[in-house]
């Protein structure tokens, strides 16, 4: 069931570049009216295949009904129904993967089909041709053009792990008035290079 073999038969996923993300600060400033026309051709380059040599794999001929709790990275290319948890690891739903489950993981990469709510503490990527129906809670989200998503997106701030160990601010600084800014979402609007 848990094949550790390396899978080389997965087609590489085309990558569609996304435009630079506007920041709220930039958005608030009225910009000069721009009118520029250009042409974009897709696809331009491909994502490298998922490096999953060390990930546990559920092959495409495998069907699981129940609860999975993984203590290592997990690659699902088969059918899973139930609950999928890898709270401290990366979960990849392969192009053949069909998941009807509640998902909780550190990082989720969707190339196949997911139906269910997804909680990704770190980030979620919904690749081109992937399908996700459900509500997402995550710190960062990446959606490629061509992906299908139906549901809600809640951006939650990551746990302030370092903030706790930070030395207390001097009192003088505390007196400076603080301007309330909207919640900052994903700084990673642009897909990372691997």
């Amino acid at each position: 069931m848990w094949n550790k073999q390396r899978r080389d038969d997965e087609p590489s996923r085309p990558f569609v570049p996304t435009a630079p993300t506007p920041t709220p600060a930039a958005a608030a400033v009225p910009a000069e009216p721009k009118k520029e026309a250009f042409t974009v051709s897709t696809p331009t380059r491909s994502f490298e295949p998922e490096p999953r040599g060390s990930a546990a794999t559920i092959g495409k001929a495998v069907r699981i009904n129940g609860q999975i709790n993984s203590k290592e990275d997990l690659y699902v290319d088969g059918d899973v129904e139930g609950i999928l948890e890898a709270p401290e690891h990366k979960l990849t739903i392969g192009p053949n993967g069909t998941v009807h489950a509640t998902i909780k993981a550190r990082e989720v990469v969707a190339l196949g089909s997911i139906q269910g709510n997804v909680e990704a503490a770190d980030r979620i990527e919904i690749r081109k041709d992937a399908k996700l129906i459900g509500d997402i809670r995550t710190a960062r989200i990446i959606i490629e053009d061509g992906a299908y998503f139906k549901g809600s997106i809640d951006i939650v701030k990551p746990e302030p792990a370092k903030a706790a160990s930070r030395p207390p601010q001097p009192q003088a600084q505390a007196a400076v008035p603080v301007v309330h800014a909207p919640v900052q979402a994903a700084p990673a609007a642009v897909p990372e290079k691997r």
Binding site: P22, V29, K34, E36, S41, A147, S152, I155, P182
Partner: protein, 234 residues
């Protein structure tokens, strides 16, 4: 030969079978999306409608916004960066899946099909949203379905909230381009033409006012691209 507007419309057969809401029905035609992997034309243009929409919601955070244009990275990032919760629906895709590629004019009048479509695309509790980005989705609905969708939107959007919808203003066009709208800035849109499609109905200011007659107010902005940007207050 140049003909005066009404005569030209009679010759086109447009006004003769005007829909009850005053809009001009045209047969829903086939969409012609660009071939997969082919080039798409991308424009960046200012949008007064978008600016108005965000003016109403900018001062607040934690609102619930519905985007009917499908999920795009830019829109997701922009709206969530403002501190709002975003719901995404690919309205035109659901329309295609429900009624077929050519729009299915007859099915769009079938109450059972309409109910099924509403369950697929707009199945939300009453007063759930604080704003809806409708984009140009309403242009492709025949009168019966359009009326049902407008009713449903009125129900699921909180009173005093706003919708942003686009309608082509040029009723001489048989097919109109359809777009993916990506928010660049609070008043700027990146518009990627995804193909062209025959609209189910064409609207003027009067017919739009009639269409949103249950809503509190309707405000128009005409763009250089002959697109009416409409802000509707619920």
């Amino acid at each position: 030969m140049l003909l005066p507007g009404p005569l030209k419309n009679i010759l086109r057969g447009g006004r003769g079978d005007a829909a009850p809401n005053g809009s001009v029905p045209v047969r829903p035609g086939r969409s012609s999306p660009p071939a997969r992997g082919s080039a798409e034309t991308v424009n960046t243009r200012p949008s007064r409608g978008l600016e108005e929409f965000f003016t109403y919601i900018r001062g607040q955070s934690g609102l619930t916004i519905l985007d009917l244009g499908g999920a795009t990275q830019q829109n997701v990032t922009f709206i969530t960066n403002l501190g709002h919760r975003l719901y995404s629906e690919d309205f035109l895709r659901i329309l295609r899946e429900t009624f077929g590629e050519d729009g299915g004019a007859e099915q769009q009048s079938n109450p059972g099909q309409i109910e099924y479509f509403l369950r697929q695309a707009l199945d939300y509790p009453e007063g759930h949203f604080d704003g809806v980005l409708v984009w140009d989705a309403l242009e492709y609905l025949t009168p019966a379905l359009l009326t049902a969708v407008i009713e449903r939107l009125h129900k699921i959007v909180r009173p005093k909230s706003y919708l942003l919808a686009f309608f082509h203003s040029d009723d001489r066009q048989d097919t109109v381009p359809y777009y993916t709208f990506r928010i660049q800035e609070i008043n700027t849109l990146q518009v990627a033409q995804a193909g062209s499609r025959q609209p189910a109905q064409l609207f003027n200011n009067r017919s739009l006012e009639k269409l949103f007659t249950r809503y509190e107010s309707v405000k128009f902005f005409l763009t250089r691209e002959r697109l009416r940007e409409v802000i509707v207050k619920v």
